[in-house]
């Protein structure tokens, strides 16, 4: 396996590890916003929940890009 392939795999492993954590953070903030005692805290946690959702979307997009790069790198090293 080439060095590039190894690095891409490691990057993918990092991303894949973090995606569920972003999702969990989103759910925690959203659930907290639901019972937040004040308007300010409700808005704050809803905002945080949206931010985590954006993080997850970015990570999903990065994952797709890296998977394509990995497939290309593997093809290159086979040929």
């Amino acid at each position: 396996m080439s060095e590039q392939t190894k690095q891409l795999e490691r990057l993918i492993e990092v991303i894949v590890r973090m995606i569920p954590k972003e999702r969990q953070a989103r759910d925690v903030y959203r659930d907290t916003a639901a019972w937040a005692p004040t308007e300010m805290t409700r808005i704050l946690f809803e905002h945080l929940s949206l931010e985590e959702e954006k993080h997850e979307s970015k990570l999903q997009a990065v994952l797709k890009i890296l998977q394509k790069e990995l497939a290309e790198a593997k093809k290159k090293s086979k040929s």
Binding site: E9, R10, R17, I19, P20, L63
Partner: protein, 232 residues
Amino acid sequence: MKQIGKEELERGSGAEGKRSLVAVGGKVYDVTSSKLWRNGLHVKTHKAGRDLSLAIKAAPHGTEVLDRFEQVGVLAEEEAAEEEKVAKPPLLVEKLLEQHPHPISVHFPIALSIVAALFMALFLVLRKDSFETFTLYCIVLATLAAPVSISTGLLSWIYNYSRVWTRIYRVKTALSIVLVILQISALVIRLVIVSGPDLSSPVYWVYAVLALAMAPTVMALGYFGGKITFPS
């Protein structure tokens, strides 16, 4: 608005004085005037003449940066990249995954396999038959628990970890297969071939080695599982 096909988009590569075209979300923009798109290259990574819908999702900025550029067309329908949705699990699976079935279930084969190996080692040293019997019971239970761990791990891999097939997942898969082979081989030898603890039988020693080998196997599985879950 003008329909722009793949070939026309590719001609907008920004190279050799050509204009720089980028497609995002089915819309085609002319970014030639941007200093950030000199010669059709953006931040040394993204090339003009392509559909960058996916790339912009991973970017530190959003699509608002395209507001300052002229939209010169729309991607011809057959060229527009379909938005790939992230696979959502069925509701039952989603509810199951919320209960963390894999982290719960793995403890059983891990603990039982280690205890089996420990009591096998104690039996080999102390020659107490009750230790040998207990080893057998642990292996039986570990073998029954393994499919639950493996199937919950598979669910987790599909829905939590996007089915990526990198080294760590290959290693875990291989170790799971090794564990199942060790367990089934051990049980076949102990329950079918040998009649009881018989240290004079070479076949029994194969069983003993299989039982002992389960411990490092499950520890390795636990180690790689920890690497997936926790940042190092």
